[in-house]
Each structure stands twice: as C-alpha cells, then as structure tokens.
Amino acid sequence: MIQKDLTTYAKNTWCPGCGNFAILTAIKAVMKSLIDEGLPFENIAIISGIGCHAKIVDYINVNSFYSIHGRVVPVAQGVKIANRNLKVICFEGDGDAYGEGLEHLIFAAKRNIDITMIIHNNRVYGLTTGQYTPTSPLGFKGKSTPFGTKELPINPLELMLSSGATFIARGYSSHLELLKKLFKEAIMHKGFALVDVLQVCVTFFNMYEYYNKTVYELKEHDTNDYNRALDKIREWDYSANSPIGLGIFYKKNASSFDDNFPKTIPQKEDEKDIKIKNILKDFV
C-alpha cells in the first residue's frame, strides 16, 4: 500500500541552488539504505522546526512532525521516550536550534537521549528573509543588524561538547558523500548525535566560495579523545578566518536517558480499579 519511494507530492519551494537540496538527497539515500538493511519503514519519525529547512518534512514520505520554531528537541524526546522502536531524526535551523530553542538542545545532550539532530546551519534566518543568527560572523549585516552585529557567534560544537553530547560532527552541503556518511553514523549512534551542516543559503548568505576555500575533511582524528576533539572544534570559531574541519569530531558510548522508563503495559479497566482502590487504603 505504501510506496517505498520517499517522495511526496508536495512542491519543493526552496530557492534554486539552496544547500537544503543536498541534505534532502543525502538523508533520503541514508533512509533508503537503512530500509534496505531491514529497518521497518514505519519506524522512522522525522521532526522539524520552522524555517526554510523545516519544509524537508513535507518532502519525505515517512512519519513526520512539523513542529514550531525552536521546539524540535522536546518533541523528539517525547516521541523517543514514548516509542523506543523509532529512529527519531530531527531537522532544525540554526535559528531554531541555536537561537530560539538552544536550551532544549543542551538538555537533550546532557541526557544523552537517543535522537539525531541535523542542523541546517546556513548562519542566517532564511524564511524570515535574512537576519543574523547565533552563528553569523561578527559584523554580519542582516536586516535586523544593518550596521553589522556587535557580538561574536557561539561555537555550537563546543557548546555541545561541554553539554555532554556523545556524537558531534560537521558536514557541508557541497560534500554530499560525507553528508551521507555522517547522517548514517549519527543515526546508528546510540545516544544524542548532532551533525552541524554548513548549508549554504544562496539568497541571504552565499558562502559557497568561502567554504570551498576553507573546508577540509578531518583525517586521522581520534574521535574518542575529548581534548583533541575540543582542539579541532575550537580551530574555527564560526567568525574568524581559519580552516574549517568536516567530519566526526567526537564520539562516546554512554547510557541514554530513554533507557530508564517503565514500559507501557495495557491494563484492564477492572484491574486498574482494584489497584487504585488498594492504594486508597493507605490514605486512612
């Protein structure tokens, strides 16, 4: 009844040349390979916020939850804790994830909850037509900062590392094969995984040329070593002019929050009534 084709009838409305297309292509490829390897199709749930990136859920024909701006992470945690069979894959913009809803991200990392965060980090608010975000470089002239921002960006990977995330990676929308690899590893990772994708917004912050000059793929990097991960993560602060590493920075095994809940057991109405009445006896 359901086609294994992952495309919906929704019309794609991203700008031509937008980096979101690469993310869409990569994630569909990864989903297909997971399905081929035996993951039941219906055990995927994707969640997005609000922004250009978020439209991705309209374009992929799997269970989805198009939520509100900045609130992907709590939704994802609810879904995962409620149904641990699901692979919960989240798409969030940098405005969403690092701005409006940053706090949730930190707490999900702290809990090491088993979800995958894919951040479409175009370093600008796309859908609201071009304001600075927490990862825009110092001096960025957006519509809300026509004279240039006066604040340094955050380094989201550094923040994630200090929050307890157990899988931290960076991709780039022009390196499609790497994206596929990162997405797949992130999804397979048991615990909280975040892939920050440098997703170019051709309309409001076209960084293709710049990134093409500055990115490199991490080689022989020990992803188990906190200090090395930190050094590599701090190599580029999302503002200054320096080499930008791509790949997995950090990876660690640890238990996840969602392992700790009782399973829901369907209960008969009369059994429950008896249980309640029994407990009521303690209140005399």
Binding site: M1, I2, T8, Y9, A10, P40, E42, N43, A45, I50, K55, V57, D58, N61, V62, N63, S64, F65, Y66, S67, I68, R71, V73, P74, V75, A76, Q77, G78, V79, K80, I81, A82, N83, N85, L86, E103, H104, F107, F261, P262, K263, T264, I265, Q267, E269, K272, D273, K275, I276, K277, I279, L280, K281, D282, F283, V284
Partner: protein, 556 residues
Amino acid sequence: MKEFSLLLGGMAGDGIDKASLILARILNRLGYCIYIYREYPSIIRGGHTYSIIRASQNKITTHTNKVDCILALNQDCLSLHKDRLKNDSFIIYDSDAVKPEGLPLIKQLQGIPLDKIIKEEKALAVTRNSCIIGSFCKASGIKMEILEDVFKRNISRELDMNLKVALKGNENTKELFKLEKISERCFPIFTGNEAISFGLIKGGLNSYIAYPMTPTSNILHFLASLAEKFSLKVIHPENEISVMLMAEGFAYAGERVAVGTAGGGFCLMTEGLTFAGMAELPVVIILGQRTGPSTGLPTYTGQTELHFALNAGQGEFTRLVIAPGDAEEAYFWSALCLNLVWKYQLPGIILVDKTLCEGTYSFNIDAIENIKKCEPVLWDRKEQYKRYLNTETGISPLAFPSDKDAIIKINSYEHDEAGITIEDSVTTKDMCDKRLRKEKYLLEELIEYKPVRVYENANSTVGIICWGSNKGVCIEAGQNLGFKIIQPVVLSPFPKEEFKSAISGLKKIICVENNATGQLIKLIKYYGFDVDEKILKYDGRPFSLDELENELRKIL
C-alpha cells in the same frame, strides 16, 4: 457532636501539614467526614502556617472561620487566630513557647511543656506536634488505640519516638469532653492534587510531565512516587515549554499524557497549546490558579485564569475547559477529560486552584459516577491513511508511528488531509471548520455527564452561581439559607442550554467568585445571561462558610 473544627498552627517547618493530616485521620476514625484548609506562606521555615481541620457528619468541602479548638505551637497562632474562638472553644498550647494572654474569655485552656517533654524523651524537635496530638486526644476523649493505629500507618520515620512523645502529651492533659464515634464509615483522606492524579490514572494516563510550580507540584511528586506501580513515565524537564512540547511528542506516539502547572508556567505553554489545537494532538493541562498577577502570592488562591484558559493561544480551535469543584469531581473529570481529549483530539484544561489542589477531603470512590471509557477513533486500514481526514464530525481516525502502512504527518502549518502544508483559501477555511466542528459533537457528548450541576433547594427563587472550588462553600451556605446552587463544571464548550434551564425560574441570581472582575459573569453574559448581585473576594483566601453566609445575608 455533629461537627467539630480545630485549628493547628505553628511555624513553617514545624510539620503542621503532616500533623493536621494525622489529626484529620484520627477524626476520620470516629466516622466523620473531613475537610482541611491549609494556609502557609511561600517560605520553607519560620513564618506562621496553619491548618483548619473540620470534621462533620455530613460531606463537607469547606472550612469555617470559627473553630472549636486551637492547638498552638507558637505565639502567632494564638495572636492571629484568637478571633476564631467561640465561647466554648478550648485551647491547647505549648507552655514552653506560648503565653496565653489577651485572649477572649475562654473556659478551657490547657498548656503542655512541649520543649521540656521532648528534651526529657531525647526526641526530635519536629515531634512536638505528635505530643500535642496526644494531648488533643486526651482532651477530646479519643482512645489512644486510634492514635496509635493512625500513627503506624502515617509515620514512617521514628515511629516509636513519636508514639512515646504522644503518650506523654496524653498523660499531661485532662479530658474535657468526649468526641464519640458517630458512624462506621472511614473514607480515605487526601488532597485535590492526589484526586486529580488518581483520576488521570483512571483515565489511562501513560505519562505525566511537569516543571514544579505551586499549587500543582504535588501531582508531579505523587505520580513520580507511583511511576513503578502504574508503569508511568514521569518526567520533570528543563522548563514548561519543554513540558508542553514533550507532551505533544508523547501524544503523537500514542501515549496518554498530562501536564501540570500554574499561571506563569501556563503562559509558557500557550504556544504549545495552540499547536495542539492546530495539530489536533490530545494533551491534558492541569492549570492550578493562585493569587496573581505574575508571582503574586504563590501559595494562596484565586480564580483569575478562566478567560486566559478559554482564550490562550493564537487562532481559533475547539478546546475543553473543565473546572471541578472538589476531590471527587477532580477525580471524575480528570479521568473523563483524558478520555475525551483522546476521542476528540484536542487540548483539554482542568482548571483548578490552590484551594482545591491543596485542600484535603474525605474521598468516597463508590459515590463517583461511572466513567464510560470512550475509545479514540482508530484507522480502519481500508483507505490510505490520512492524519487529517476531513470527516463529518471533524474527527480523523488515528494511527501512530510504527503502525504498519500508515504515514502520519503532523503539521503546525495549515495543511491538507495528509498533513502537507497548504496556503490556498478553500482548504484553509475547510480545515478551520473541521477543527471547530468538533465542538458541537463534544458538547453533545458532554451533556450526558451533566456539565452544569445543580444543588439544594431546586425550588428556591434565589440562586447562587459559582465555579470550581467555591462549590462546597456555596452548597453549604445554600443549604443553610435555602438557595439553589448552580455550578457550571464545563466551561468550554459552554453548555448554554443546560445553564439556561438551571437558572430558569430564578428571581435573583448571585455570583460568587474568587476574583476582582467577575470572570464567570463575563462568560455567561456572552451567552446572554446576567446576574443580579456578585460577591467577589480577591485577597488570596477562599471564602469560609460563615464569611460567605454573612455576605449573602448582607445582600438579601
């Protein structure tokens, strides 16, 4: 005695709360029905706090200003409450800490040296209240076996020490009169919060999510303690935004979920609330009112969020708002609310207040009406699954992630039946109609459950209308003065016809509320009704029975 009222007061940290529950349970053993009113400051230790424990042969859910007995652990207790004494009231006080001066003429006054006793027994300071309970039992002629049994069931730490100290108190007191056993019944006694918790469990709760906030924090604590027993997932996340959105994740995945908060936290949930309206996700919100605006008096009561609950969130959609009036109603309607939001796929609000949440009641589960379990409409697998299938009732059949062959797409944007974003004007209007249409069917179903309750003197031409925790005090006052009481329990969708017939024939309508602007009046005016008089109280305290009766007499 038909009725007996006692006040226990001391400093925050003295364990007044626990002690008053024990006192209540002792009186319960004599066959009385109980109501406890608690007043305490937003302070952990120090500061005066007290409980009024009222015991009656009838079912009661309110307290009186006047009391038959005061048990005073500190001086404030006597100075602040002396006006509550009647001519034949008696006082037991800690003679090591309290000077019984400036009191009205009181015949019976009993001091016991609590500090001294405790030192002698090498007991903890907090056992002072056990000592005074022992003393009270003697004064009122209650057998120590009853005290012992209640202590055993209610005190887990240092039981022996407490018993010993209680015995000392008992020995140091003389019997003043005899509270006899008046019946064999012995109901469990607990708070509105606990009743809500049981109600949610009865309604099939799988998960409870909350960030602590008075007056609903104890639902979180209580359900957390029951998590293992009822396979509940109880979570306390980083803030209320997370609470609400996490709950919506649960609802999507097919788990019955409720959240609890007070006004400030509810503010932060409103964006999630309108999302639940749009996405048609069933979530129950327990909203406990307290004295506002803003932080206000966080441990005191109020009824100021009616219109906030009715109108929170952008856009228009069907919502269920229910204000139960006491513990039994809290149980019944919490269970029903969870059932109904799942059937109709919408957010539901249980609107309560500090008075109900933290008031303590005798609870008779057998008196509670039957709750039909109404099952959600599930996908029949015949046609391709569409999450927002536009049906006659507005209800779309449900499926959940992991269900074979279904693709379930939730959307906060306006969407088509499959859940894909749209912007055209025809679908926009159709989907808005779909969501609003559910109201009609929901209301029809609610009628079965008598959404407007009527009590006492059905033939009286004077009626009191009230909502929420004022139910009990209005009923008793109505009884005493011969009025009819009308309590709309369901506030949205508003049961207009039921309300109309409830007030028909009345010559004078008086509205009683705990707010300054008359929020229920505002609501009924929209439906074309009006009131003749209003009695509004907004100092953070609920009406006591005698106070309300006075106010009512002034009007007539």
